[in-house]
């Protein structure tokens, strides 16, 4: 099943590449600022059992290109990076790098675009090493902080919608589904962003 989906995605992208009509062109570039909310409501945040909130301000920057296809279709490719977070004791630095490609379909006279696509989400954890002494069964024990840089790679399935205020400015909401083929591990994140785009066809 995974292979079928992947082959379909690749073929669709290649089909777009092969289309040599005047409508296929690198149309616009865009720059995005937004917030990535990772796994809302999944993780516990206090000893009362409260789950994480539905919105978490986690800023990111991204840039991308938009290719115009026939019949109100587009392809967008985008790369972005979240602002790194570091623990107060600087033991761990965490940030996410992503590469995304979406098919978009324009509706409502071009005001709204519906997006479907896939991303690679790379969560990078950079440990700075060291030790800490913590309680353990009534006494204390030395535990070890992570010291390596470790990256997790998740291939996600994305759905989104983008509203164009005008030619230059737009706002986008995108749902990112992790591990859609493994029900035990399926989790969701989402982004809310604004973008500024400019015409590249001149």
């Amino acid at each position: 099943m995974k292979l079928i989906v992947l082959v379909c995605l690749i073929l669709l992208h290649l089909a777009a590449l092969a289309e040599q009509t005047a409508d296929y062109e690198l149309n616009r570039g865009y720059f995005t600022f937004g917030s990535l909310t990772q796994f809302p409501g999944e993780y516990q945040i206090d000893t009362a059992g409260t789950k994480s909130s539905s919105f978490d301000f986690h800023p990111y920057f991204a840039g991308g290109l938009e290719y115009t296809l026939p019949e109100d279709w587009f392809i967008t490719v985008e790369g972005g990076l979240t602002v790194p977070e570091t623990t107060a004791d600087e033991a761990l630095t965490l940030y996410t790098l992503f590469l995304r490609s979406d098919f978009a379909y324009r509706v409502l006279g071009g005001r709204l675009k519906l997006l479907i696509g896939s991303s690679i989400m790379m969560m990078i954890m950079k440990g700075n090493g060291g030790t800490t002494t913590l309680g353990n069964a009534g006494s204390s024990t030395t535990f070890y902080r992570p010291e390596l840089t470790q990256t997790t790679y998740n291939n996600t399935f994305d759905l989104g919608a983008e509203y164009r205020f005008n030619q230059e400015w737009g706002a986008r909401a995108q749902l990112i589904a992790y591990s859609i083929f493994d029900s035990e591990k399926t989790q969701y994140s989402y982004t809310l962003s604004i973008n500024y785009s400019w015409d590249l066809s001149q």
Binding site: V5, K51, I120, L134, T152
Partner: protein, 280 residues
């Protein structure tokens, strides 16, 4: 612009505090790890007010917590009960690391047997300074103990979790089912290589505080660090890699999805450049 980015990076967005069990990174060599409940036919869990069958259910719920992390490849597989006619686990003594690696005591024949996978058992061993020591004596307030008792280099081959059901005064007998599930999940975190966390609401915090029905971000980061999802082949298949292989040459078939995207970008930009030069 850079001032704004710097300002954003100083916002107190999250705090984490996961640690590792040893001064070297220990992890299971396979991402699917079976978790067994030991039943040696002696009702060893009785003092805890639950049975071995109850413990099987607690293990299933506890494994579900760790298996829910999409950024981790680790899958703990509840494997039901293993039987035994001897009482090696329920009365035996865990090997002692003395906080050093590699542990030298675990091959000792007088200790709980070395295992493959994770074994969870109820322990009726109330001997001083053995499984549940506190200031050199046995403590009823210690809920459970875990040791990675079978290592191959830095690969964890097997870990043993012992629940303290040694006598009628044990603290675990007053715990609810959800609390026992959290205790089991905490010990499973140790079994796969995690240490304690500084975050009081973390599952890996040293004490069983409050309500713990889900992992925290801290726990999820810890297990993701030890068992990260890696791309392989076409990019939709995750595999587990030892993190100390990070610096080895990467499989050239990896990152194929990223390469497709980059290729698309390059073709588009090349075409754009060609058209620009042609029209000039």
């Amino acid at each position: 612009m850079m001032k704004w980015i710097s300002l954003l990076s100083t916002l107190p967005l999250h705090v984490w505090g996961f640690t590792l069990f040893a001064n070297v990174t220990l992890q299971f060599g396979h991402h699917e790890v079976p978790v067994y409940v030991v039943d040696e036919g002696n009702n060893a869990c009785a003092h805890g007010n639950f049975t071995e069958d109850d413990l099987v259910g607690y293990v299933e719920e506890a494994t579900r917590m760790w298996n829910s992390v999409s950024t981790s490849k680790l899958v703990l597989v509840p494997a039901g009960k293993v039987s035994g006619s001897s009482t090696d686990f329920t009365t035996g003594e865990l090997c002692n690391w003395d906080a050093s690696y590699p542990p030298s005591d675990c091959t000792n024949a007088t200790k709980v047997p070395q295992v493959s996978g994770i074994y969870v058992a109820c322990s009726t061993n109330a001997n001083d300074n053995q499984n549940f020591p506190q200031t050199g004596t046995y403590s009823t307030s210690i809920l459970a103990a875990t040791t990675m008792n079978n290592l191959s280099g830095t690969n964890i081959v097997g870990s043993v979790v012992l629940m303290n059901t040694a006598d009628s005064s044990v603290a675990i007998k007053d715990k609810s089912a959800s609390e026992i599930i959290a205790i089991v999940a905490h010990e499973l975190g140790h079994a796969v290589g995690l240490g304690h966390s500084e975050q009081t609401h973390s599952l890996m915090y040293e004490q069983s505080l409050g309500v713990r029905t889900a992992l925290t971000v801290d726990d999820a980061l810890g297990v993701s660090y030890l068992y990260p999802v890696k791309l392989d082949g076409c990019g939709l298949f995750g595999t587990i890699k030892r993190i100390d292989e990070e610096n080895e040459p990467r499989n050239p078939t990896g990152f194929s999805f990223a390469l497709i995207l980059l290729g698309f970008l390059l073709v588009g930009l090349t075409k754009r450049s060609f058209l620009y030069l042609k029209n000039k």
